[in-house]
């Protein structure tokens, strides 16, 4: 069990070999590694093709959230103001992302596939208030795009949070 001089040199050998290997570090802000399709990043609210919102304001996501960070206030759709496909719509829909733990229970809970967790992960802000995402922010296309790895290979045909693929 005594230390041997050549043993320390063996250690240097490991370090020396690295010179000939390709570095594994990635130049992050310039290069973004594709996230896997199941990755749970910032939420996104979805609309139907005809422009109506999928969310019907049922508050099931708010009930499922372990961190209590979703606030939904529903209102009736009227013929003059038709927002969602159902009877009611979410007049206020807010997610406090500073509380969110990205567990994805909200996307599991939503029976209408209205909310999903998407690939965007760069959501730091200078102020906590900016982390409260309102409905408009959640409905909009994300500004920063993150590449996603091959969906066919790295996800099951129908993701768990989608009723129809």
């Amino acid at each position: 069990m005594s230390p041997q001089p050549y043993s320390s040199i063996k250690g240097f050998g490991v370090t020396f070999k690295q010179i000939f290997k390709k570095p594994i570090t990635q130049q992050y802000p310039e290069y973004k590694r594709p996230v896997y399709p199941r990755f749970r990043g910032r939420h996104r609210l979805w609309t139907h093709e005809n422009g109506l919102e999928k969310c019907v304001g049922c508050s099931l996501c708010a009930a499922a959230c372990p961190a209590d960070c979703i606030r939904v206030v529903a209102a009736e759709n009227t013929p003059g103001n038709r927002v969602s496909a159902g009877e009611r719509y979410a007049r206020i829909y807010e997610i406090n992302l500073s509380r969110c733990i990205f567990c994805g229970y909200c996307e599991i809970a939503c029976p209408f596939d209205a909310i999903t967790l998407e690939a965007e992960f760069e959501i730091s802000e200078y102020s906590r208030d900016d982390l409260i995402y309102t409905k408009d922010m959640l409905l909009a296309e994300p500004i920063k795009r993150v590449p996603v790895a091959d969906r066919q290979l790295y996800d099951t045909p129908i993701p768990a949070y989608k009723a129809k693929s």
Binding site: G11, F39, A160
Partner: protein, 422 residues
Amino acid sequence: MATVERPRIYEGTRIPSPIPTILRLSDELRDSPDVMQVNFGPNHPSTHGVLRLIVDLAGERVEGIEAVIGYLHTGFEKTMEQKTWWKAITYPARIDYVGFQNDELVFVLAIEKLLELETPQKAVWMRMLLCELNRIHSHLVYLGTAALELGAISMFWYCFRERDLVLDLFELVTGVRMHTRYFQAGGLAEDIPPGFYAECRKFTEWMPKAVDDYESLIDRNEIWLERTQGVGLLSADDAIALGQSGPVLRASGVDWDLRRAEPYLAYDKVDFEVPVLPNGDVYDRYRVRMIEMRESTKIVAQCLDRLEGMEGEPWIADDRKVVLPPRHELHTSMESLIHHFKIVTEGYRVPEGEVYVAIESPRGEKACYVISDGGSRPWRVKFRAPSLVALEATATCMRGALVADLVAIVGSLDSVMGDTDR
């Protein structure tokens, strides 16, 4: 090169008295002007989080030591009592944030024991696979940080290189790199994606080579040996008396591993060795973890063999009272929709009773004691934290140690402060 005799492990016990977790200054030293009291932590980079140690130093020699914990108290156990069982599954992974998957497993196993729920084979093997990956992850974090603290900075880079591979696998299967909530009562949250097997195989083939690298880096490195051999001795008697478990216990020569002593999941169907080493010092604790990484890689490979033959099998039990109904039924079956609503809003009810479930987490015996009053929320949840127990051995290990050894000893006990303070 002169061979230094490695200090032998002592016989019997030397637990400091009267309080086993505190090393008290002796009477002669109490009023001595040579003794200096130093605060080590809570913001010291090598205390693995927010641990505060009050150390009495006589020169370099540590004469008294007392730990102050609680800086990372989160109250998760209490919070879980306010949440339904389904929501509470997200919490345990945040208690021991390095051995997250094992924590999740122990809580889910406790729920299943109360519900008397059978898990499909695919889920059992996948759980085992992820728990072993998590063990590798945890030991890599230990090895990287413990070696870094003793000056082997390159170890840190190498270990975190492999750690990232493990986390990538977690991201692939579960969606996040840590805190996955992938284990649900009854099985797994989602099926295993087809691309996982190939990626995981790549990892199991790579990992033994990486461990070879670590071994040639520090296994026989003179500085490493000087800093670790014969330091922080803990005899088998003391280890048992202090309730140690996991690598700390096995490095003191006690052959005890819950995976083999009380097999859970399918550990009785896989082939692995439990390393037991006799010297009870920092070096042996490091060796135990190194060997465990190799053994875990073997278990992962065996799980993969099984899982590859289970294509198309169910991954979660078919119990509509507990398990969320399949997604596609929500639009076709009213009954499924009602079950879905009930589980999400009210949660499932768990029969009255109390259970204690223990598993072998990377840090030792991680256990969960749950009482249910028959409602949809746990009445009481208590975790047995191996980190806290390991920390209790600090005072005994520190007998006659120098202040430089303190870093090595605290590192080798591998406490995670989230687990200690809960």
